[in-house]
Point group: C2
């Protein structure tokens, strides 16, 4: 089953479902058995929380979730280590490295103020913000994940107030890297190689990381297009530099410092990819007007 | 007046204030005149919205705000271009480049569902997500800013529902770069040079960008310390690689690929900065346990 990232059309946070068959039919959580829908290459697109592990936690805005595997099918007792090669666990690790959104579904069996009275409820999109290992009381290795609710969604449906992680009370978010389905496409086209410097950022288990950069920004007032003609595959350094106006794109797709328009590099394109010239022009004029 | 970033102790979102003098006394917005408290080198730490420009907008979760300058003091009519060298405008641009949080205060004069019936109300911390120029109907240049509300704060106080920017309806956030007061310190110590590769990412107007990277992660379950002994100044590429487990820190503060422990670089430290060895050990073991 191919993965589908994001909230399916017509599904909303707080929507309830009778059983796993209905979750599957509506593409909220495809498999009718198993808590994680994922694999190593694509990532994981959904998980079901049903309270299988005692150390798990559900604070609404963030969740501690134990991976899959190593339990006796009858007794549910842990009798082996969990493996990072299990497709579900590997998928959630890939989702962390690539920053893919994971649908979270809560079951009635879950002991949580956010679980539904019966059946299942859709809790929205989360990011896998953390992964680590723990040794349980019998000495078996568990793979643990922290998931954090993504902003810009409908409000959480709950009787109680979500608790914010106290560790972040004094922190602020300085940059948010936005992703769209088209930006995943451009990263795939270039195998995560930066179109400016060729850098690929390596992650755990030979996973690779890059960013899709919109040349003309999305959103008001720029109204840039979420299309390949407006996207580059860049390393985080060059994406940052593009976003904060350190460089501009010239008409021949070379790059220049905004301060003095000195050329310092060229963009490399595949034969089947090109920017629309108007997007390069927009980016350049936006920043040149702010330089002086 | 030195800048202070973040919400002052004892101040909360939705708190109301009688007048500008009270805002100033409680360090919510220091100057008793002027909408922006900022300068080019430090950034801007607070703004007051009072509805001076007709093109401005307040959607609760995001705000369109016109910069300072060029108006006739008596008629309030625009009679000159706005300048990026105006300290307030330059401060907001610096806050965008460095990702500094800006306190937003709404005044009763503001035509917005979020403005208070009288006096002023504290709206919380925002990031400057965008900056651009516009030409007004008389041909004068205005400097415009978009501010977006940072997540992980108390709920917005309003009679109406905040509207999400439709341009982002299909996007997700793949990485969030968190910042703390200590991470600002480490970036300053190294003049924004990456401790691994020496890179500095340039922004508009010769502003510089780097990231403070926590070696042992903040928050549960890691409980890393927000202290210099747990922080590095890194470029976005190396910060990403550290966060997604592509590299580990060895006991001699050299760096190795997690996959094969092959050394590829060293960390450079100033004489007055060092990691606590336990933080390097924690980071290394965390990822080595997830490699196999």
């Amino acid at each position: 089953m191919a993965k589908f990232f994001g909230t399916p059309d017509g599904i909303h946070v707080g929507q309830q479902f009778i059983d796993r068959a209905e979750l599957s039919k509506l593409n909220v959580h495809r498999p009718t058995q198993g808590g994680i829908h994922g694999n190593r290459s694509e990532g994981a697109d959904s998980i079901v929380l049903s309270g299988g592990y005692s150390g798990d936690a559900d604070e609404g805005d963030y969740i501690i979730y134990t991976g899959h595997g190593g339990q006796n099918a009858n007794t549910r007792r842990q009798e082996r280590d969990q493996s990072v090669d299990d497709p579900g666990n590997a998928g959630l690790i890939t989702s962390k490295v690539l920053g893919l959104p994971v649908r979270v579904i809560r079951g009635a069996n879950l002991k949580s103020p956010f679980s539904p009275p019966s059946g299942y409820v859709y809790g929205g999109l989360f990011e896998v913000s953390d992964v680590w290992t723990e040794i349980d009381s019998n000495g078996y290795r568990l793979i643990k994940f922290k998931l954090e609710r993504l902003p810009e969604q409908a409000e959480l449906v709950s009787a109680t107030r979500p608790i914010t992680d106290p560790a972040f009370a004094t922190s602020t978010v300085t940059r948010r890297i936005r992703d769209t389905s088209v930006s995943r496409k451009v990263k795939e086209m270039y195998g995560n190689h930066c179109q400016i410097c060729g850098t690929v950022v390596p992650g755990i288990g030979e996973r690779l990381y890059s960013e899709g950069a919109h040349v003309r920004p999305l959103g008001r007032p720029h109204l840039g297009d979420d299309a390949l003609e407006n996207l580059l595959c860049l390393c985080p350094n060059h994406h940052t530099e593009l976003d904060i106006g350190g460089m501009v794109i010239l008409d021949d797709y070379s790059l220049a410092r905004t301060a003095d328009l000195a050329r310092f590099a060229d963009l490399s394109f595949r034969a089947d990819h090109q920017l629309h010239p108007s997007n390069a022009t927009y980016q350049r004029e936006l920043w040149i007007k702010l330089e002086s």
